[in-house]
């Protein structure tokens, strides 16, 4: 149980003060911790009389606490966002529901990844080190699918051209998906290079495949790349354009 918001209330009796507090918090007695700060005193003819004072603290389960913190954080961005909470074992899945979530997700999930990181930081500050996943309308699942398809498509290109391909920097989870998608392939291999947060996945052709496409040392007699017609250039040179691999409809 984690302590949530606490309020103090006064009343003619302990009972009365407690009821008032419960009403304000909108909970029931079994979900709070009650401290009696001052017992009421009758006094004489209204002299020296004292009201009862209690402090009522909400007790939240881990799940409730995570959900509430996330709701508060997201509420600052947009009041209309709704949250769906699914506790798993040892991890937490939070799905934001609403319309026009593109703004919350950001380019390639940039915004939602940052929000997730902030949420985790806030929770860690309260002593909650649970794996928390923040999602928006099932974006993570869709992204997973896109990445898998991209991995397969790029692997095909690497095999065909016998040239390695370097992805733009991606977060660990996304790199993992690329590795997983290609782990059973024998024609290409994957590894990552660079330091977080700029680590990139590289897909390489495996040595054993026949290397008749590309001489390892370019012949000095071969025409320089400048002289190649544009369609030839396009088919041999990996694009420097970041995120080209994510372009749709290819």
């Amino acid at each position: 149980m984690i302590k949530g918001t606490a309020i103090e209330k006064t009343g003619r009796s302990v009972e009365e003060a407690m009821q008032a507090a419960l009403e304000e918090l909108g909970t029931t007695q079994d979900k709070v911790e009650i401290e009696v700060l001052e017992e009421p005193r009758q006094g004489l003819f209204g002299l020296g009389a004292r009201q009862a004072r209690v402090r009522v603290t909400r007790l939240l389960t881990e799940a409730e606490f995570i959900q509430e913190t996330a709701k508060e954080l997201l509420g600052k961005i947009d009041q209309s966002l709704d949250l769906e909470c699914t506790p798993g074992d040892g991890s937490f899945y939070l799905n934001i529901i609403g319309q026009n979530l593109g703004r919350v997700i950001g380019k390639h999930g940039e915004t939602i990844n940052s929000l997730q990181f902030l949420l985790q930081a806030v929770l860690a500050k309260k002593g909650l080190k649970v794996r928390t996943v923040l999602d928006a309308n099932g974006f993570r699942g869709r992204r997973e699918e896109t990445l898998r398809k991209t991995a397969l498509r790029i692997a095909e290109r690497v095999r065909r051209l016998q040239r390695p391909y370097t992805f733009p920097p991606m977060p660990p989870m996304e790199r993992r998906l690329i590795h997983l998608a290609l782990q059973n392939r024998t024609d290409v291999s994957t590894h990552s290079e660079g330091k977080e947060p700029y680590r990139r996945v590289i897909i390489e052709p495996t040595q054993s495949t026949t290397n008749n496409n590309k001489p390892s040392i370019p012949s000095p007699l071969a025409p320089s790349k400048k002289w190649l017609p544009s369609f030839a250039k396009r088919s041999t040179l990996p694009s420097k354009n970041t995120y080209r691999y994510l372009r749709k409809g290819r």
């Binding site: 954080l73 961005i77 703004r103 940052s114 929000l115 990181f117 902030l118 930081a121 500050k125």
Partner: protein, 75 residues
């Protein structure tokens, strides 16, 4: 933007009562300064600036416009 920053920063630091957020608007940018107590500087910035980077990303993508940049500094 202010309430988001305030909530995020206050729930990260040890002395939330010392958090102050000020905004200054110039012709081409909105300059936001987050003031926290000295011990809390590291908490708002994070390891390798990861926390402040996340804060900047969220603020830029959600509250930013194409007209004005938002500059966030921690002091």
């Amino acid at each position: 933007m202010r309430s988001f920053l305030e909530f995020a920063v206050k729930s990260l630091v040890d002395h939330p009562e010392e958090v102050e957020i000020s905004e200054r608007e110039t012709a081409e940018a909105i300059e936001v300064t987050i003031k926290v107590s000295k011990e809390d500087l590291g908490k708002v910035i994070g390891k390798n600036g990861r926390v402040i980077k996340a804060i900047r990303t969220v603020v830029r993508n959600i509250y930013g416009s194409s007209k004005k940049r938002i500059l966030i500094s921690v002091a």
